[in-house]
């Protein structure tokens, strides 16, 4: 089968890239996914969207993505409710050191037009009264950050792409990529053979393996990150509460449930996505510490999903001189959902040979070559 572009991965990144390419006029785009709709990282994420970052590139990608989300329902002409809620992220500093780092972060964010601000403990308590005042030092807050339903947002992209002629096939897994003279030629799946000169690797946790099939070394790996959900209750918390030093993010979604996650510093690099007791143990203790009232709620469900980690915790976007026609949207390190509008726009511009909307040098895979100092994003859980 001949296609102009084959995208591996129908999560939010793949769906957004497909939509943007089709909108720019590309025909005959096909998207494959090895499992069911939003089975990977997109459908397992914490459903938060934020602009409060410590690197300029992440700030810019996030800001422009939020601007898209604000009008996504109309732009994509989606019938459903995207559950977009802009009640902010409240990020706790738990020491004077962290407070000082956040002062720098907020200065960077403000310079880039992100309306974040630093709050005293008393100001933070006005926004989230059930915070334990003993558990933190100060906070930062950005009102335009918030919540978005990952399933609905991905469906919105997928349906809009389908209306522009893009086709999707689920339970179809890439098995082999044929490269001739350093140019993508053919992709063999468990169901089909595709002849194409353009291949997009949006395979999330499996991005490394897709790279290997094409002989491209991508410095990414997968690791399990766990989340739990509580029973739904009446609204009691507006913003996502987050702390890097306490290792937690926790928000009440519009449906009423609280979602909360944390990372395991000892997690192994692999594709496991099991739920563990130790996660529950650590999470419940952290919650009793910072928000004891929320800790009174019952856990109803827990799950895991793969972060696709890059060396500097920023995405790898674009092509590579290792293989022509091979494009990557991977290494999001846990933030692919919230950056998807820009992922789609930038990839479509690069693939079609247009000038990208922003300087892509620090997102290019070649940034890791001959570089002693990597500017790593530290504002991550």
């Amino acid at each position: 089968m001949n296609v102009n572009c084959l995208i591996i991965g129908a999560g939010i990144s793949g769906a957004s890239i497909a939509y943007n390419l089709a909108k720019k006029g590309m025909k005959n785009i096909h998207v494959i996914d090895k499992s069911y709709f939003t089975s990977g990282a997109t459908g397992r994420c914490g459903a938060g969207v934020r602009q409060q970052w410590a690197t300029e590139m992440n700030c810019l990608l996030a800001k422009k993505s939020i601007e898209f989300f604000e009008h996504a329902k109309e732009i994509l002409d989606y019938h459903g409710d995207l559950e977009f809620k802009q009640e902010g992220y409240l990020i706790l500093a738990t020491s004077k050191n962290e407070h000082e780092q956040f002062t720098k972060n907020v200065a960077l964010q403000n310079r880039l037009g992100i309306p974040s601000k630093q709050l005293t403990k008393e100001e933070a308590l006005k926004i989230v009264p059930h915070l334990n005042p003993e558990a933190f030092y100060s906070a930062t807050y950005c009102q335009t950050d918030g919540h978005l339903n990952p399933f609905k947002m991905t469906e919105a992209y997928m349906l809009a792409a389908k209306r522009l002629g893009v086709t999707f096939s689920f339970f179809e897994e890439a098995k082999e990529i044929i490269v001739e003279n350093h140019q993508v030629k053919r992709i063999i799946t468990n169901k089909n053979v595709y002849d194409t000169t353009i291949l997009v690797n949006a395979a999330g946790g499996y991005s490394y393996e897709i790279g290997q099939m094409a002989g491209v070394d991508i410095p990414v790996y997968a690791e399990n990150h766990e989340i739990l959900a509580t029973e739904p209750v009446e609204k009691m918390q507006g913003p996502m509460v987050m702390s890097f030093s306490k290792n937690i993010y926790c928000q009440q979604v519009p449906h009423g449930a609280f979602l909360m996650g944390r990372s395991n510093p000892h997690v192994e690099k692999n594709h496991h996505i099991e739920s563990t007791w130790s996660f529950l143990d650590q999470m419940s203790k952290t919650l009793v510490d910072i928000m004891p009232k929320v800790a009174e709620l019952r856990v109803v469900r827990q799950w895991g999903g793969s972060y696709n980690m890059s060396p500097d915790r920023q995405p790898i976007l674009g092509g590579t001189d290792q293989c022509k026609g091979f494009y990557m949207a991977c290494g999001f390190s846990g933030h692919g959902f919230m950056l998807a509008p820009m992922t789609g726009l930038l990839l479509s511009e690069i693939i079609l040979g247009e000038t990208p909307s922003m300087d892509m040098t620090s997102l290019d895979i070649h940034r890791f070559k001959d570089q002693d100092i990597i500017h790593t994003e530290k504002s991550v859980v």
């Binding site: 069911y36 709709f37 939003t38 089975s39 459908g43 399933f151 609905k152 469906e155 959900a229 509580t230 029973e231 449906h255 739920s275 529950l280 143990d281 999470m283 419940s284 203790k285 919650l287 009793v288 004891p292 929320v294 800790a295 009174e296 709620l297 019952r298 856990v299 109803v300 469900r301 827990q302 799950w303």
Partner: protein
Amino acid sequence: MRKEDVIICRCEDVSLKQIHQLLEQGYTTFEDLKRLLRVGMGPCQANTCGYLIQREIAKFLGKSVEEIPVHKVRPLVMGVPLKKIAEDQDDER
């Protein structure tokens, strides 16, 4: 009885009509339906709707119920307050 009056998922108030609408749109696994309708995300963890939905999928696809994959069962089996988990860890040791 009208399809919109037949409640399939009691935790999230999902009707038979909503299930049929999504099946017709091409969402034909329990996992698809769960993500778009929240079936199985409530406190009963699909104990009530799991088999009912499996049967509707089978009917729609013209397959037998045994051929339809069951939903992924997630912990916990029943709701437990986070605070109890935090407190009881210390008692155990």
